[in-house]
């Protein structure tokens, strides 16, 4: 028998985006029923921390994103380890894989991403893993006990770095195969990528750039024993990680006729094309304040904030998403590099940069506005530049100082730092106070 239950708020996805929404809903509505459903059988954990989990064999408790009593304390019903298979947006219901149906008044799709798995010959062999979920990390951990000396990571992006660090800590010899000419090419500029590659070399990680994997091979006909690159070279390995990236998990939304570009399209309130349905996080294509258009920005801070905005709107508190942009802090192998926005801009952008020994700072500008940044080494004041970028503050009067060794709030114009000092309550306050300098 199909049992229909009713949730005032139904959240699909129990990760950063879903939690952001749940916390906002509870701030605005203490009583309305909140149900969170996730295909993963765990309470919300920090996805980036699966790397630490694999490196140190942490217990689950150490990587939880919220304390274990989160659901109880907030009066949230969590249905874990079950997938939603279908939505009926007209009827306002969701069908679960066990045949149950759940009715909802407001729905949030925070379904995240799925690993991109290209059609490489041999990808189905045992010993080949993705690195996106805790279960992936667990499976890799078990595989390591089978005796893994060498691993090949396909993809030199954020996920590739993250799993490389964990494997090195577990004593595995790692080779990264990156199709483009440098690692982290989508989030760093050439100079910062070179710093990362140098560091990888120091810790014994080999990097093959400009290469792809043509085949994942096995001498035994079963588990992986080697890979063959596109130039015919053979690399022995007992473990292969597919780390090319994630793509929005849009199946549910497309089945329901919700508008999708690369991700689910949302407006400034994180609402989809379908009434009462919202989306956020890796699955959504939301406003990017650097590009001034909707883009995929699959990072955790944007998932949480988008979820928070969606949650308030679902609860009837009109709230606008200020936008997000690509931004990352890379601390792998002891490095300290942050980047945001356009790290590697087209030629018609202005670049202010300074080297300070092994450290450097670079700020990308267009018409007096910050459009991108990379800080390597000395990163403690980088957030000030990020704030100027986010709040679209004209920096023409002091742009050279942004990359200086002693950069700080005091390097900004007096009008701006005074606004910061006098309104130290909310990060948006200074921008409001300094909007008079916008556009110079």
């Amino acid at each position: 028998m199909v049992r229909v239950k009713k949730a005032k708020y139904l959240i699909i996805g129990n990760s950063a985006g879903g939690i952001g929404a749940a916390e906002a809903i509870r701030q605005a509505d203490k009583a309305g029923t909140v149900v969170m459903i996730s295909a993963e059988p765990y309470p919300a954990y920090s996805r980036p921390l699966i790397s630490e989990y694999l490196a140190h064999r942490y217990p689950l408790e150490k990587i939880l994103y919220r304390p274990a009593d989160f659901y109880d304390k907030n009066g949230i019903q969590a249905i874990l380890g079950r997938k939603v298979t279908q939505l009926d947006t007209g009827e306002h219901t969701a069908s679960l894989e066990d045949g149950k149906r759940m009715a909802w008044e407001k729905l949030l799709l925070a379904t995240g991403g799925l690993p991109i798995l290209p059609q490489i010959k041999g990808i189905e062999r045992s010993g080949v893993f993705a690195f996106v979920t805790l279960d992936d990390a667990r499976a890799i951990d078990r595989h390591l006990y089978g005796g893994v000396e060498r691993a090949v990571i396909i993809g030199g992006g954020l996920i590739g770095m993250s799993v490389a660090e964990a494997l090195v800590k577990r004593g595995v010899k790692v080779t990264i195969v990156e199709m483009k000419e440098r690692v982290l090419n989508t989030i760093l500029d050439q100079e910062a990528s070179a710093l990362v590659e140098q560091r990888l070399e120091q810790v014994g990680v080999k990097v093959l750039t400009g290469r792809t994997v043509a085949e994942i091979g096995s001498h035994s006909g079963g588990a992986v024993t080697h890979i063959v690159t596109d130039d015919g070279a053979t690399l022995p390995c007992e473990l292969v990680i597919m780390a090319i990236g994630v793509q929005p998990r849009t199946q549910l939304a497309s089945g329901a006729g919700i508008r999708i570009n690369r991700g689910i399209l949302v407006d400034h309130r994180m609402a989809t094309s379908c009434p009462d349905v919202y989306a956020c996080g890796d699955v959504a294509e939301a406003y990017d304040f650097v590009y001034g258009e909707n883009r995929l920005t699959p990072i955790l801070p944007n998932a949480y904030l988008g979820g928070r905005v969606a949650g308030f709107n679902m609860a009837g508190v009109t709230t606008e998403y200020p936008g997000g942009t690509a931004m990352n802090s890379l601390k792998y192998f002891g490095l300290a590099i942050v980047s945001a926005g356009m790290a590697d801009p087209p030629a018609d952008y202005e670049v202010v940069s300074e080297k300070h020994g092994p450290a450097y700072k670079k700020v990308v500008l267009k018409d007096g506005l910050v459009k991108g940044m990379v800080f390597a080494g000395d990163i403690e004041k980088s957030g000030i530049v990020f704030g100027l970028m986010k709040d679209k503050i004209n920096v023409n009067g002091f742009k050279q100082a942004l990359a200086a060794d002693d950069f700080g709030l005091i390097s900004l114009s007096e009008e701006i730092w005074r606004a910061y000092l006098e309104a130290p309550s909310s990060p948006s306050a200074p921008s409001a106070a300094s909007s008079s300098v916008m556009g110079g």
Partner: protein, 151 residues
């Protein structure tokens, strides 16, 4: 909540706030030991910025809408709903520095030795934070809101 405000025209750039902050956050609470002997080295949770003749010290502002809390990858940073303080659970902070990238004040510091952040906690357990209590020129004030700041 009460917050720390700076009267920048009264700041003489003496860095005593930094010294007292560091001592307050040391194990020994003794300046000589804190600076010379302790390991891990205690860090000041604020920084003094100077461009003579102007100077002021910057620390966590415990924002109403804290970007750092929203950006925290692990859940270590939280805004205490009761006190308004932005707190960091040192056990859960892994030192990913994402919060540093989004702090518009540049107020969060890296404690590299311990692999986690260090930021102002308003001196939990003290009525008046150490930096405010020891500012020789009363450039730092700890008041309910800006209105309590006499100019």
């Amino acid at each position: 909540m009460r917050k720390i405000y700076i009267k920048e025209q009264a700041c003489i750039g003496c860095h005593l706030c930094e010294v007292y902050c560091r001592v307050e956050h040391s194990q020994s609470k003794d300046p000589i030991k804190a600076f010379k002997k302790e390991s891990p080295q205690p860090l000041a949770r604020l920084s003094v910025e100077e461009r003579k003749p102007v100077s002021f010290s910057i620390r966590c502002q415990h924002c109403d809408e804290p970007s750092c809390v929203y950006a925290c990858l692990t859940g270590a940073l939280q805004k205490d709903a009761r006190t308004g303080t932005v707190t960091v659970d040192e056990e859960r902070c892994t030192g990913c520095w994402t919060c540093i990238l989004v702090c518009p004040f540049g107020a969060i510091r890296r404690d590299v030795q311990q692999g986690r952040i260090a930021k102002c906690d308003l001196c939990a357990g003290r009525d008046v934070p150490a930096c405010v209590a020891n500012c020789p020129n009363e450039a730092l004030v700890y008041v309910q809101n800006k209105a309590g700041l006499e100019r």
